[in-house]
């Protein structure tokens, strides 16, 4: 069934996006898992693990900042690239297309807020 696999396949450990790079697209995971890593002061912290159906790199669609994290394949992973220009043109015609991206970002803010509020008690 591999003939019907859409997107591009990355091998275990391959970097899909790199922190500090310019971003012109976001990605949707078609199969497999990726880890989101942040480098700071020479230390690498795993921020999240994303799986099938999840987005990553979506900040590049709405901002012109550099990628804030590195995303690396955990095992074989297949991802579909969504072009910024194509997506923004569709959002311009149908703003509700952004619902799911906004929902995902909202969910991630909630996750982060919970992590931050848990932090002092964990210490």
């Amino acid at each position: 069934m591999d003939a019907g696999a859409l997107g591009k396949t990355f091998k275990d450990g391959e970097v899909i996006v790199r922190q500090g790079d310019e971003g012109h697209c976001m990605f949707v995971i078609q199969s497999g898992k990726v880890e989101v890593l942040h480098d700071r002061d020479g230390k690498t912290v795993q921020l999240a693990i994303r799986g099938e159906g999840d987005f990553f790199g979506e900040m590049a669609i709405f901002e012109r900042e550099k990628r804030m994290a590195t995303v690396r394949a955990m095992g074989d992973v297949r991802v579909l690239t969504v072009d910024k220009k194509n997506l923004l043109r569709r959002v311009q015609e149908d703003p509700s297309l952004a619902f799911r991206v906004v929902e995902t970002m909202s969910h991630r803010i909630r996750e982060l807020s919970e992590k931050v509020t848990r932090q002092p008690t964990d210490d």
Partner: protein
């Protein structure tokens, strides 16, 4: 003291919002919606209507009327289509959370090969990524022995059913509007009334005649004929000879305007556009050396094979809506020659959002749904112009040679502008609006280089690097 929940308030605000025309027709919790036709347009509409309704706290009842079972092999389960999901639609659906699984996509397409009498050239997607999907609308062509892939239409229908839609497998025989509400009567004599009816029956059915006689000013879209056939080659042969490319032919064969071979699983689909396509024209195309190069040596047209001559839209329906009725997909508006499933998605979603957020009156659809149809119609006008130019290129050998030279050079370069490649890519794959494509052809870099390559084409041509003459 009010005991209303936030969703109750939201729901009431949608239902009771004042309107210039009175009384305002709107969906409320408990409203009944019928969708006539369970192909992509009907399934997309059901999916997005139920999703949006859920977001604003509306509890709707939705019935999809579709007599066909898409998991049936052969014409009985097929919706007659070339079966290409464009690059832009694959990305848009992924953003919507609708990812196409490998059990549905028969082949991921990452390139296309343009075949002309002056030579062939392969055009790769800049990202080297498979972002076009070839699918079968039904379970597979007539005569198929082993079912390896699922029907695309069945997959979408299941997504709608998972959202809460109910499938009624019956043929609708009559539609009337007693008290202004759509009333559907099935073959077995059962009748049901609804608050809203979405019509998604395509243009290859007599059902649209019923609506023309309903005094709602509906006129069916103007159509033209096309020809689609499916040939069994086996997965390995398809892989070896056609690979992951869509093969497009610009051949100077009388009456033939456009032709494509699309690799799919064990089969290859042949799609022809032109005037009065008949067996001799199909045979002339198959016998042309450009086509023979793509197929296994000695391959001949089988005695029997699955084929159909479906209609496709030339012009959109002038008024694809009325109070409580909206026409989506081919029954309303579709893109010229390409990306019919993309147009089904756009019109279905616009109709669903209008129904949930704006209302279900004729005025609501005119204000919020019609602009999407108009955009498609206006873009088709530019598309017609592009296809006139394509036809002229098809007729003139020196033009064809100029195009081939320009694309071949662009494909050899590692970087730099790829004017002709992107224009052809978007024209043949349906990935961009025709307006965008047309504007790109006005770029001085495009016109200047093309003119130069046409003139330079009179000198002897160098072979190699993707160019074959």
């Amino acid at each position: 003291m009010s005991t209303s929940s936030p969703t109750d308030v939201l729901e009431k605000s949608f239902a009771q919002r004042p309107s210039s025309s009175s009384p305002r027709l709107a969906l409320e919790s408990g409203s009944r919606v019928a969708v006539l036709g369970g192909g992509p347009a009907g399934s997309f509409f059901s999916y997005f209507l139920l999703e949006s309704a859920d977001r604003v706290g509306l509890d709707l009842h939705l019935d999809i009327y579709e007599r066909r079972v898409f998991s049936t092999i052969g014409p009985a389960g097929c919706n007659m289509c070339g079966g290409i999901i464009s690059e832009s639609l694959v990305q848009t659906l992924a953003t919507e959370g609708i990812n196409l699984p490998t059990s549905v996509v028969e082949r991921g397409i990452d390139s296309y090969v343009l075949h002309m009498d002056v030579g062939d050239v392969r055009i790769d997607t800049p990202l080297q990524e498979k972002r076009i999907a070839s699918i079968h609308r039904g379970a597979g062509p007539k005569g198929m022995k082993e079912r390896k892939w699922e029907s695309f239409d069945a997959h979408l229908q299941q997504l709608a059913l998972d959202k809460g839609a109910r499938l009624i497998q019956a043929r609708v025989e009559d539609i009337s509007l007693p008290d202004g509400r759509p009333h559907l009567k099935t073959k077995d004599g059962q009748g049901e009334s609804y608050d809203l009816l979405a019509v998604a029956v395509g243009v290859n059915t007599g059902t649209l005649k019923i609506f023309e006689n309903l005094s709602i000013d509906y006129q069916s879209p103007r159509t033209t004929g096309t020809y689609i056939s499916e040939f069994f080659l086996g997965e390995e042969v398809v892989e070896k000879h056609l690979g992951t490319s869509m093969h497009v032919f610009l051949l100077n064969i009388p009456r033939l305007e456009f032709a494509a071979l699309i690799p799919k699983g064990d089969y290859v689909s042949l799609c022809l556009l032109g005037r009065d396509i008949d067996q001799p024209l199909v045979q002339a195309f198959i016998n042309s050396p450009e086509v023979k190069r793509c197929l296994p040596p000695g391959w001949t047209l089988p005695q029997t094979f699955c084929h159909c001559s479906p209609k496709i839209n030339l012009r959109c329906a002038p008024k694809p809506f009325a109070d409580r009725i909206v026409f989506i997909g081919d029954s309303g508006a579709s893109r010229l020659y390409k990306d019919g499933i993309g147009a089904a998605y756009r019109t279905a979603k616009a109709a669903a959002n209008t129904a949930v957020f704006e209302g279900i009156s004729s005025e609501s659809f005119r204000e919020h749904f019609l602009p999407v149809c108009k955009r498609i119609e206006n873009d088709n006008r530019i598309g017609k112009l592009i296809f006139i130019v394509t036809r002229e290129i098809q007729r003139r050998r020196f033009d064809r040679r100029g195009v081939l030279r320009m694309v071949s050079k662009e494909q050899r370069r590692k970087s730099g502008a790829r004017h002709m490649s992107t224009v052809l890519w978007d024209t043949f794959t349906g990935s961009a609006p025709y307006r965008d494509i047309f504007l790109r052809t006005l770029h001085p870099g495009f016109l200047g280089v093309l003119l130069w390559e046409i003139v330079a084409g009179f000198w002897p041509f160098r072979k190699g690097n993707g160019m074959i003459e």
